[in-house]
Symmetry: C2
Subunit: 459 residues, 2 copies
């Protein structure tokens, strides 16, 4: 065996596929009984697929669009006809376009903030954010502090908090300003990250995003993929790695050998593998510092997208707890109506432990506030708490608290002997997105090929 890949998310599958294409012998070990990682499509009824995980593509995510094309995954635009809703300070407003009219002074304040962010973001080198001119200062403060210091209006501050929750599934106090800036640069700026049309929420998958993972897995071949194989330990010897899998503590251990291992899972989970010899301090302490975000995706399914009849497109931003963000997530033909509400950051942490029935009630109550009484009576309701998923433990991705980028960033991708690191957290462009996962898989495959080509007879 040339390479073992840990994790059959998009990063791992991309990496394995690239290695197989290059003629290398490769095996992917996946903890779950399915591929896809943070992509997870659920078939609600024939023709009605719900993406419990990642679900969107947008402009400049060329790698992701190319993959969609390669595996024949059809796309369609997120529904944006009609008016959006904003529900702020106890008042609802309808609006068209990107920004609701919440007062000139508020808009100027928010717009100024956005433009400052975008300008600073461009100074952050994607390969090495810690080399930004103000890296130390930007990494010593939280994004919340920057908001506090820069934005003057309640609306402007709320807008920035919404950005933090929607994009990072975290609160502005959870990550550093430097991380916010890196991420903005990585995804192409504020509007690119937050917009539906023209932005990262532009296109959806007709049959679910999992088609990407399944298409890759199929091309890879069933013999190169082992499901139900959680990796517990990786030992490096002079000329090889030994990878230990055990589904649960009472099960027998399977051991696989290869010349390199690519760990393609979130850093917080990579920390839970035992490494022998132990990882260097910088790498280990890095993984103590990159927590996963917190999000619960909530789906209410109705007989039809009734809000469209009222001229609404289903998009809501609000300050009403616990759902600050709603999308129309109906299938392309509108044969049923689906509202997707996001519980993110603090709210997700609060509602993570509660009785699912209670969560349903709370969410439907908010949807009814936005869309009327009919919204309270869906035909189906389901939600998915990614922090409860043992093999992910939080979505969308990891965020970098103050200090992490500037003091540990150098260890993010640095190979440790025959162990390489992939996963969307290691991407330079579109970190945290499907596109970043692909970039990371391609990069790690390239690194693996380089190791395999050095003294091939000794490998």
């Amino acid at each position: 065996m040339d390479a073992i890949v840990v994790g059959a998310g998009i990063a791992g599958l991309t990496c394995a596929h690239a290695l197989a294409q290059a003629g290398k012998e490769v095996l992917v070990l996946e903890a779950r009984s399915r591929v896809g990682g943070r992509i997870y499509s659920h078939m609600l009824a024939p023709g009605v697929v719900i993406d419990l995980g990642a679900q969107w593509l947008g402009p400049t995510q060329e790698r992701a669009y190319r993959l969609a094309q390669t595996v024949g995954a059809a796309l369609f635009p997120t529904y944006t006809e009609g008016e959006s809703l904003v529900d702020f300070g106890g008042q609802q407003k309808r609006y068209t376009g990107i920004v609701p009219n919440l007062g000139l002074w508020n808009l100027l304040d928010f717009g100024r903030g956005v433009s400052l962010l975008d300008k600073m973001a461009q100074q952050v080198p994607l390969e090495a954010p810690w080399r930004a001119p103000n890296a130390e200062a930007w990494d010593s403060m939280t994004f919340a502090t920057w908001i506090q210091q820069t934005l003057r209006t309640r609306v402007g501050r709320w807008g920035m908090r919404l950005f933090a929750e929607a994009v990072f599934a975290a609160e502005p106090g959870d990550f550093s300003l430097l991380h916010a800036l890196f991420y903005l640069h990585s995804g192409g700026g504020f509007e690119r990250l937050t917009a539906t049309r023209g932005g990262a929420q532009q296109d959806r998958f007709v049959h679910g995003a999992q088609a990407l993972a399944e298409g890759l897995a199929q091309r890879l071949g069933a013999e190169r993929l082992k499901l139900n194989s959680p990796v517990r330990a990786i030992r490096q010897e002079r000329d090889r790695v030994r990878v230990y899998c055990q589904p649960h503590p009472d099960a027998p251990t399977s051991v696989y050998e290869a010349k390199v291992a690519i760990v393609a899972i979130p850093p917080a989970l990579a920390a839970r593998i035992e490494y022998d010899p132990p990882l260097p301090p910088a790498r280990d302490q890095l993984t103590q510092r990159l927590p996963q975000g917190s999000v619960i995706k909530c789906f209410a399914v109705y007989d039809r997208p009734f809000w469209r009849e009222q001229g609404l497109n289903g998009f809501v931003t609000s300050d009403v707890e616990p759902v600050h963000l709603v999308f129309d997530n109906s299938p392309p033909d509108g044969s049923v109506g689906i509202l997707l509400g996001f519980i993110e950051g603090r709210s997700a942490r609060q509602l993570s432990g509660v009785d699912p029935e209670r969560r349903r009630e709370v969410v439907l109550q908010v949807l009814a506030r936005y869309f009327g009484e009919k919204a309270r009576q869906p035909e189906h309701y389901l939600d998915h708490d990614w922090s409860a998923e043992v093999w992910t433990r939080g979505c969308y991705g990891a965020h970098f608290p103050p200090g992490a980028w500037s003091q540990y960033g150098h260890a993010l991708r640095a190979p440790v002997g025959r162990i390489l690191w992939a996963g969307t957290e290691t991407a330079t462009r579109w970190m945290g997105y499907i596109d970043g996962a692909i970039e990371s898989g391609e990069r790690a495959a390239q690194e693996a090929i380089e190791i395999l080509s050095v003294h091939p007879d000794h490998n």
Copy 2:
């Protein structure tokens, strides 16, 4: 078996001893081949013991003094006769007392900062820091931001940074203001935490701090302690826990059963155990968010404490990289002279990976700057990088980055079924210290006894 304790640090041993005293059957499983955890005494020569880990006790640490007395561990005061040194901005000054005279304006600035901190700290409830009146604001900003906003002088800011490094082994940007305040309250205030005489660095152990751990282990009895037994997994069943140990991936697994398990290791390491059923999201995400600090303890051993002849007590604070803090760490009789230099926070992270020879050179160069050329030629030099220790992965303890206390603090001690949590990170008084470890072990033992007393026949 009634209880299994994971980790033979002071917390775990205290807990096990208390349970044994209460007539419970208990077993401690320890990953290392020694007890003591973050206490680790090294015998350099007969009568010359070097504490590579925790080494001090100070006033109000009653639990720790009581334990020292119980196990017969003799103490002696840290050497403070003579003058201290400050080396700041390229200039050295000798001084006596607690604060060097670096200019009235600077002292006023720093003093005002300290008094503000102490005042705010008293508003932080030790049992629930997230209930502090300004918890959300204090937890959304870093301690660095508070320094930036509050201190006016370079000297004042340096003093606060030194506090962060010396007390947390972290940079002011790494943790939240709320954590700084909690910690100050937990330890009894700024002076109590930072002072030698009258503070947390007041007393040392004649024969090394490990006497505490060994004394506890002896009282516990060898049959209740298994070394070389890293716990990999804990399964909970209806009426018991099963604990799985495996020294390395190729070794056989040993399984132990009991009615409760007490996990007495740092949160970041507790995260690396597999739990079945999985832990609730709040507990899991908490452990993704509590990184260990970064410190390298450096010891230079000379034929005699020659600096004392110059009227110096060996204590240095400075802004010279990489050693900002030095103590006279000679044995009580002064038969040899030992300087203890701390590399902390950012400097520890930078010097963690480098060649030990180079580290030695860098450290001795700084010591020579403080104490003259003789300091460059020690008879022995050794250092200990706690982030490289697989079963600790950083010292002194965990720090709470912004957001952790207010959003996850409630999960810090909350039992999960038959699993309880100990370790100095779970203490309310003297968190991060030996005293806090004892408090946590006593508390966890009490919780275990309560569980064991409910339906004792079903337990």
